[in-house]
Amino acid sequence: MFWRFVLSAVKFRRRRLLLAFSGLAVAATLATTLLSVYSDIDRKMRHEFRGYGANLIVAPGLNSHSVPLAAVDEAERLGAVAAPFLYVVERVAQERLVVAGVDFRRAAPLTSYWHVDGARTAGPGECLAGSALAAHFRVGIGQTVPLASGPCIVRGIVSTGGPEDDRLMVPFERAAADAGFQDAASLIEVRADGPGKIAGQSRVQEVRAALAAAVPGVDVSVLYAVAETEANVVLKVKSAVFFLALAIFGITTLCVTGNFSALVIERSKEIGLLKAIGAAESKIASLFLSESLVLALASALTGYVLGLAIAYGIGRKIFSDAAVGVDFGVFMPVITVTLLVAIIATLLASSRIWRIEPAMILRGE
């Protein structure tokens, strides 16, 4: 009897049910999308901040002019990106200039903000020229800079607005050989991403502490400007998304309530009949509730699939390729939210059941 009521409802009120179903499906889709975006926003936003380059600097400690290269291995062992840099003053004819030794392969993820004309890396006998330096010595790509320690062919012109513009970038090994450095660098840039292993601590701080402990005689400092701005912005965007999600859930519940109210109104006659033959109001309400729960389960599944697709689309469209990814783990929360919305909406809508007078309804008033 119970199920017959529910099933016949589906059969006879297809259109109205479709409306209620789509209301709930919208709720489930939004829940999936928002939860999926929300759970991953930390990673996605931090990924965007990669462009800022290093957030840790390993510099020579007291009474020292260099940093041991062991710090690079140590940082990489800790899962961070690290690259050594070496600066020496060189000569072209009688003029001095700064030559930077760069480990181009390691430095690539830390120097993505460089605007480069030509190649981003230089091999043995090659170099990259800063834009101001290239203009000063009037060299272009493919031309040779007559460095005192041996000429190099310019493979690319670098422009950053920073000190790199005035420098010549050569492979690290060459600069180290020229400067007489062995297994050492002027400084090491490190980038550590993401939340820390211990709750409430950032990965940057953990890597900083680990590096300082593992490599004696160096100064490891956090670039506050990058690290803090990043943390602030991520936090704010996260809480903004949270508020939005809250508002959307409230409004969806209201929307579904409207749908279910219409459902109850349309079936007033049936309800009047049930009441007339002695059904308790709570019994009728539970019929409606089970009907809406079935609907909610179906729409949660539909919404889950749709929502994941949309979240994927957002990831693709807005965030960079590497950050694409959806969180399949939001299924349980989505089911819960959808059921909750359905229950609240049905309870609000079924208050009408108590107000229906069987005699009036059946007489047709």
Binding site: L30, R96, I265, G364
Partner: protein, 423 residues
């Protein structure tokens, strides 16, 4: 007659009307909060990103190449290359001067401490400045770099004083020299007291800082600065921003000039300071734009979703109210009322409910949006005044649209059918 009918309808069933109005109000409130608070997330984040430090560097036009590592000059700079200190405030006189949030001039020098060269910078820490556009601002190193930490205190240099004996040291330099806040230090043969130790994480930690006018006196370079760091709020660069302004048509040039791209702000600074070049600091400027674009896109998508749901809600609530009154409609039809008459009557009622709900919702939402931006960004933002009438109009339109379909189907049915069926 018409007015009495509408008035009576509202008076007779106040509870039902109140619920419909409440639902519309809720929908409009959400819409207002969305539009008011969330669409300005971009601007707020833009200001937040300014804590990354300067995104423009203004330096004198130079014929020689600076040979600098970590603030130490390995080749003396030409004496005739400088920016006059008197022209520094001109940066605040450009077309987009309101977008310049901070500027910090600096004079570079170096002196030997314990046999090792140490870079010394003469700067403004936080100087009172009457800008050429008539506004009073406080600007300098401290306003530009809000994330820098200081042990001790910042130097208070609101007014110039070239006899001040205060300085600040970078943390790395202080560690090397074994000094802390309160110690004294000899720079250029004069004794300075350390007001505070600066931690930045960058190469600034290897420097000593004194007031700009003090270093001008010590180095004999009165009225000269070597660089101006500028922090500007900018619009993320797009393909148009990267075009060469020299090759633009006049109309294009005007549009480019009147858009706060980093390149157009740099161009305007070069116009007021002809002796200087302004270069965007790519590391900050480019990424700022990128992060901002992502956040704007994300917020816009979510806000659109919220608006769509709000509209759907108002729609379905209004559809329900008309559905409830099919019986009434049938009686009116049966007693001879024309379809147009009924549609106008119900339409007026729905419009009144929509407008009233919209008004309440927009007003409440405007308050709420202030509270939301307070709790997210710590700044009390006011929703734009235009928002309220826009939301009221939207709510009314959506309410009418929602009522239209069930009204039409009710009018299309024979009154006898509806009356026999019951409500």
């Amino acid at each position: 007659m018409f007015l009495r009918f509408v008035g009576q309808s509202i008076r007779r069933a106040p509870r039902r009307k109140a619920m419909a109005i409440g639902a519309v109000a809720l929908g409009s409130a959400v819409a207002t909060v969305m539009l008011g608070a969330m669409l300005e997330v971009g601007d707020r984040v833009n200001r937040e990103l300014r804590s990354l430090g300067a995104n423009l560097l203004v330096t004198p036009k130079s014929t020689s190449l600076p040979v600098v590592i970590g603030g130490i000059h390995y080749q003396p700079a030409a004496k005739d290359q400088f920016i006059p200190a008197a022209s520094v405030p001109k940066v605040k006189s450009i077309f987009w001067s309101l977008n310049i949030t901070a500027l910090a001039p600096a004079l570079n020098a170096q002196t030997a401490i314990n046999g090792r060269d140490v870079p010394v910078e003469g700067v403004w820490f936080r100087r009172d400045l009457r800008a050429p556009d008539g506004t009073d601002i406080q600007t300098g190193l401290r306003t530009l770099n809000s994330t820098w930490k200081v042990a001790g205190r910042w130097i208070d240099d609101r007014t110039p004083d070239d006899r001040s004996d205060e300085c600040m040291l970078g943390a790395a330099l202080a560690r090397r020299l074994g000094l802390e806040a309160g110690s004294t230090l000899n720079l250029f043969g004069e004794t300075f007291t350390i007001a505070g130790i600066l931690s930045t994480g960058g190469e600034e930690e290897d420097r000593a800082y004194v007031r700009l006018e003090v270093l001008e006196r010590l180095t004999g370079r009165a009225g000269q600065v070597d660089a101006i760091e500028v922090g500007a709020l900018t619009k993320p660069e797009d393909a148009f921003a990267r075009k060469d302004p020299a090759k633009m048509k006049p109309a294009e040039y005007e549009r480019w000039y009147c858009t706060p791209y980093i390149s157009s702000i740099a161009h305007q600074i070069e116009q007021v300071l002809p002796m200087a070049v302004a270069r965007p600091i790519r590391r900050v400027a480019d990424n700022e734009g990128q992060v901002l674009n992502k956040i704007r896109g994300l917020m816009l998508l979510i806000a659109l979703a919220a608006l769509a749901t709000a509209a759907l809600t108002v729609w379905s609530v209004m559809a329900t109210t008309v559905l409830e009154r099919r019986y009434e409609i049938a009686i009116m039809q049966a007693t001879g009322a024309g379809r147009a008459m009924i549609a106008t009557l119900l339409g007026a009622e729905v419009a009144i409910q929509g407008a009233l709900g919209g008004l309440i919702g927009a007003l409440v939402g405007a308050q709420l949006s202030g509270a939301v931006s307070q709790s997210v960004f710590g700044v009390h933002g006011d929703a734009p005044a235009l928002l309220v009438p826009v939301v009221v109009l939207l709510a009314t339109a959506v309410a009418l649209a929602g009522a239209a379909q069930p009204l039409r189907s009710a009018l299309a049915l024979e009154p006898a059918v509806i009356l026999r069926e019951g409500v």
